[in-house]
């Protein structure tokens, strides 16, 4: 079942899987780098979907989960329905899944090796540094105005200092944001 067939002949399921496998294997850089790569391959080179449709997929992709994966699923679905969407997602995740499984296996097997411990200890502060940089970057873009600052500080205090359940804090913030969105729509 194809939700809407474009002018060109339907793309085979195998082609979808192979293309997103390539994206998942070569899209080093994560997030937006992947979306840019997928856009070039799917929209510019093959014209499987229109640029507008791709952008819609990207916009919806930010609702839940990683938008790189969601955009791939969306494109796959628009091409060949549920099977297309599932194969696009599986193709995209497969290379990373295999790499992480292999690395995790190696890690657990050789965890006790002094050299590996030293290498990983070297990466630990870098990972935390990355997270700090992400916090600052997201903070600059997303935390605007007094209410937003209050929310960010409150969630930080709740999770870091009071040690409350993170999922609960997140759920409470979601309810808060939904109420605020309703309120905004009501007043505008």
């Amino acid at each position: 079942m194809t939700p809407d067939s474009h002018q060109h002949p339907p793309v085979s399921l195998w082609e979808i899987f192979a293309l997103f496998c390539t994206v998942g294997l070569t899209g080093f850089g994560g997030g937006m780098a992947i979306v840019a790569l997928a856009e070039r391959m799917v929209v510019k080179e093959r014209q499987w979907v229109s640029p507008e449709e791709f952008l819609h997929g990207l916009a919806f992709g930010q609702i839940l989960g990683p938008f790189s994966l969601n955009t791939c699923t969306f494109v796959g679905y628009r091409l060949r329905g549920v099977a297309g969407g599932l194969l696009a997602a599986a193709g995209f995740l497969l290379p990373s899944f295999l790499i992480v499984s292999l690395l995790a296996w190696l890690y657990l097997r050789f965890q006790h090796l002094h050299l590996l411990q030293k290498a990983l200890a070297g990466t630990n502060p870098v990972v935390i540094g990355l997270i700090c940089a992400v916090v600052l970057d997201m903070g600059k873009k997303q935390v605007r105005g007094g209410g937003a600052w209050l929310l960010a500080l409150a969630t930080f205090a709740a999770a870091a200092l009071l040690k409350l359940n993170v999922a609960l804090v997140l759920a409470a913030s979601l309810v808060w944001a939904l109420a605020a969105a309703f309120h905004k729509r009501g007043t505008s």
């Binding site: 070569t26 994966l69 679905y77 969407g85 540094g129 969630t155 709740a158 040690k163 999922a167």
Partner: protein, 167 residues
């Protein structure tokens, strides 16, 4: 294994905003609540999942393998991604008719400050693993590099691993 599947499915249902919110969520559940892995192992897992093109959520694969072997990794990966894949299939079908999208968008924009706060709290508790002055200096240098250059995190992590091995 069922606990594992259910845990990751729940996480998959509530993560949004690019994936970094996973760090506080997974850290809280796996390290503090279930004690399936230590804070150090968790940090190593973040480093390893950054070495792939996949989303940060590949961290689920790592923690799954750590808890229950290859099968655990597979179950964790499928469960954490299933909710968003199903949702996207649904969106793909009805997207022309999703009129309430402005409400969803502004809700999500509204919740982003909370995500920032939670990710900051993850950095806070991960920071407790650091001991020596050298580690704190590395953190500072890494932070500055990430802040003011557009370097790929993968390159930085690989480089830090090599430097750590040599010195």
């Amino acid at each position: 294994m069922l606990t594992l599947a259910w845990t990751y499915l729940r996480i998959g249902l509530i993560f949004f905003g690019g994936g970094y919110v996973l760090i506080p969520l997974l850290q809280h559940l796996l390290v503090e609540q279930y004690k399936w892995l230590t804070l150090r192992e968790f940090l190593d897992g973040v480093a390893i999942s950054q070495l792939t093109p996949g989303p940060l959520a590949m961290l689920a694969t790592f923690t799954g393998v750590r808890v229950a072997g290859f099968g655990g990794g597979l179950v964790a990966t499928i469960c954490i991604f299933a909710p968003c894949i199903v949702l996207m299939l649904f969106v793909g079908r009805y997207y022309a008719r999703l009129k309430e999208i402005d409400l969803i968008r502004s809700t999500l924009d509204g919740v982003l400050p909370a995500v920032v706060g939670l990710v900051a709290s993850a950095a806070w508790s991960l920071g407790t693993t650091l001991g020596s002055l050298r580690e704190w200096l590395t953190l500072l240098v890494a932070f500055c590099i990430f802040r003011w250059t557009r370097i790929n995190p993968m390159v930085m992590i690989l480089g830090a691993g090599i430097i750590g091995m040599l010195f």
